[in-house]
Symmetry: C2
Subunit: 132 residues, 2 copies
């Protein structure tokens, strides 16, 4: 098992940038962060890059005087880990209550509904075990 390092809230923002596009130099990453949220301070971003490198969530290779960062862990792994943890903590690990919550709280758009229907169809179709 890989057991992804724990990625904090703000660190996640940084990771998102690099999951979207990599490798990137620190400056480019900072630009991307600022583009999303004006309040990002370059120094803060640098600190987070260092921490993420220390955590082995990011790696880099030197390119001239600067670094090019790239993710060492996959977004899908982090998403899975965060989702598990969230589901366990908030909904005791069971899906149905969670789905009910989201379905009721945040009204789905018609498109989303359609998309989900499609997913459910796949789900109950092949996928081995779910029989209908």
């Amino acid at each position: 098992m890989k057991s992804v390092p724990r990625i904090s809230e703000t660190e996640w923002e940084v990771m998102k940038v690099l999951w979207a596009k990599a490798p990137l130099a620190a400056g480019e990453i900072i630009d991307a962060l600022v583009a999303v949220d004006r309040t990002w301070h370059p120094k803060t971003a640098k600190t987070l890059l260092n921490r993420l490198v220390k955590k082995k969530a990011l790696g880099f290779k030197t390119e001239g005087r600067a670094y090019l960062y790239r993710p060492l862990i996959k977004e899908s792994e982090c998403v899975a880990a965060a989702s598990e943890s969230f589901l366990d903590r908030v909904f005791g690990g069971s899906l149905a209550p969670m789905l009910a919550h989201f379905a009721q709280h945040r009204k789905l758009s018609a498109d989303e509904v359609r998309e989900l229907r499609r997913l459910l169809k796949e789900e109950s179709a092949g996928t081995g075990k779910a029989k209908e």
Copy 2:
């Protein structure tokens, strides 16, 4: 706006006990926690109770020499807050990708699929109160 205080991972365990049944004395809460996870230490639980009181997540009234604790914030509010935050952070705020993730990663049981279908039906039908 209420803006529920931020409830940490372990604090959440404590809250769950009181959301399930309240009011309860510290001893009862600790018993409940231990029942779920043997490793809970009474002192640790007491610390958390204090912190939750300080955060205004819990209140208490004295009953003889002991306290009776009760939640000051509703589970539904906390669930909503945690869900929002999770959805934003991990899935950029959009439901469909999240549901897709869960649908694909944790194979839904036939029952869950049916349940979700039912929810979607309601969704696309009157959506309860919004319009209708």
